[in-house]
């Protein structure tokens, strides 16, 4: 009931312009925040109504090693970073999704996305549900797995789904966020390749793009992947941020190696037309999916 009353505050719009800030990060968090705020202003002036920053945008990707010193980079939500972004959001009259290294309690941290609306209000937080751990992506050392579940946030510019990086590889995450009503799935991201992977880098990028476009197709929603760019330590972050439409069609794509802000108009009514033509949600066998909550069935 509360939810229905809340919805009534936001009549459904058919068009939203989104801004994807693909940026590089320096060693100084303060400078990264200043740069991000400038880019929010630029994107807003170009018409963006919802702006997404990359994962953990305020610092370099510290998970390349396991070092307790890095916990100093974390901060609360709300906190000084979300406060600064709130001001930028209000000033630009734009919603912002920002990847934050969240300090929840002493010794308890999350990889989170804060959602701030165009009035500057903190609408909510998503905590990354799937935490990777691979050589030089030692995230399990830093982040507790999210415990808020999957999320879609009602804003005046549509229902925004938030997922983070490693979540990209999980159809369940995209499905659940879409079932919550999300019309656009935002994926703040930090993904790249190591020098020794140069040969397979293209294949990795292709798989990364393919599976996210597929989430769009399966659910009939827009997908916005926002990656960082540039070399940090041993990783070449591959940029290539993109927006795909509800049948997986590529609407815009950034370069693999430059800072760039994509401004993309999304016609949300195309979600209806796509789902009419490809009514996947109608035919789901919800009576037969229980095994999805098992680790393995073989």
């Amino acid at each position: 009931m509360t939810d229905l009353m809340h919805k009534a505050n936001f009549p459904q719009k058919d068009e939203v312009t989104i801004g994807l800030v693909q940026m590089s990060m320096g060693v100084d968090p303060k400078s990264n925040l200043e740069k991000a705020i400038k880019k929010i202003g630029d994107a807003a002036s170009r018409g963006a109504q919802v702006i997404c920053l990359p994962e953990l945008f305020k610092s370099q990707y510290f998970c390349q090693e396991e070092d307790s010193e890095n916990f100093k980079l974390a901060e609360t939500i709300p906190g000084s970073t979300t406060d600064a972004i709130s001001i930028a959001a209000k000033k630009g009259n734009t919603a912002v999704i920002a990847g934050i290294f969240e300090k929840r309690a002493r010794g308890l941290y999350h990889n989170s996305a804060a959602v701030i609306d165009s009035s500057g209000k903190l609408v909510g937080v998503y905590r990354k549900m799937h935490i990777p751990d691979d050589p030089h992506y030692y995230e399990k050392f830093y982040f507790a797995p999210g415990d808020l579940g999957f999320k879609a946030f009602e804003t005046e510019h549509g229902k925004l789904g938030t997922l983070i990086c490693w979540d990209q590889w999980y159809p369940e995450a995209a499905r659940l966020t879409s079932l919550l009503g999300a019309q656009i799935l935002f994926y703040p991201t930090a993904i790249g390749w190591f020098p020794e992977e140069e040969e397979s880098a293209k294949e990795m990028q292709s798989a990364w793009e393919t599976i996210q476009r597929a989430h769009g197709i399966a659910n009939g929603v827009f997908v916005a992947a926002v990656n960082r760019v540039g070399r940090e330590g041993n990783i070449n972050f591959w940029g290539s941020s993109f927006v795909s439409g509800p049948f997986g069609e590529m609407l815009a794509k950034a370069s693999p190696d430059n800072e760039e802000t994509l401004i993309v108009k999304c016609d949300l009514s195309s979600i209806d037309t796509t789902r009419h033509g490809w009514p996947f949600l109608r035919d789901r066998r919800i009576d037969a999916y229980k095994g999805i909550t098992s680790r393995f069935l073989g």
Copy 2:
């Protein structure tokens, strides 16, 4: 226990050669069966150990209209068609997956796939779980939804997952079949475009390919999609049968308009190496996926 004993009969092999029979269908079922049997023999002689025929291979795609007369095309499993295929399978020393219009009882029909091993034994049946209904794909008129759940069949050439056509669009189907231990997902298929869709045909094929390759990526398994080809009534079946590897890489692809049998060697040990590099199964949030069994959560 029974399952474990069964497994013991089939030591895990690291290599299997699969054959995808992309064929066109005439109006005479008997001729289609004869053609399929000849193609099974050809594929076996080229080294195929598991051969997959298209969906409902014995007839033209009758679901283009709703006509009770078409129920006459259905047959039991086992029945004369699976008997004929069993003989061909044994003769060629090859397993066969065959799309059958199954008559289960008077007035009760399924769109099924029969799995026959290289000894000619009927290993089992999968009944299409997701039934489409779109203009000229009136499948809900003909087929009851499958009630056997998702399936992976143990054979001497690995654990074979069977899904059918519309199932292609459902990540849940691919996930559950993979969790059952399937190493290759076979999708016998009948998909095409109408003359009036010519402009969007390319985009449709692209989405069809993208989402299936994505199932391979998400699960670290091989995908084999086997489509029919040629014009029947109002539909141009687009062929383009393909095999992709466990990171979604395209291994082989047939033409959009010719009969063709793809023979593809699959290195099943690459499922290990891919899953080691991209350990998605390790990090699934099985505690948080319960909502998948809901129709909608918004």
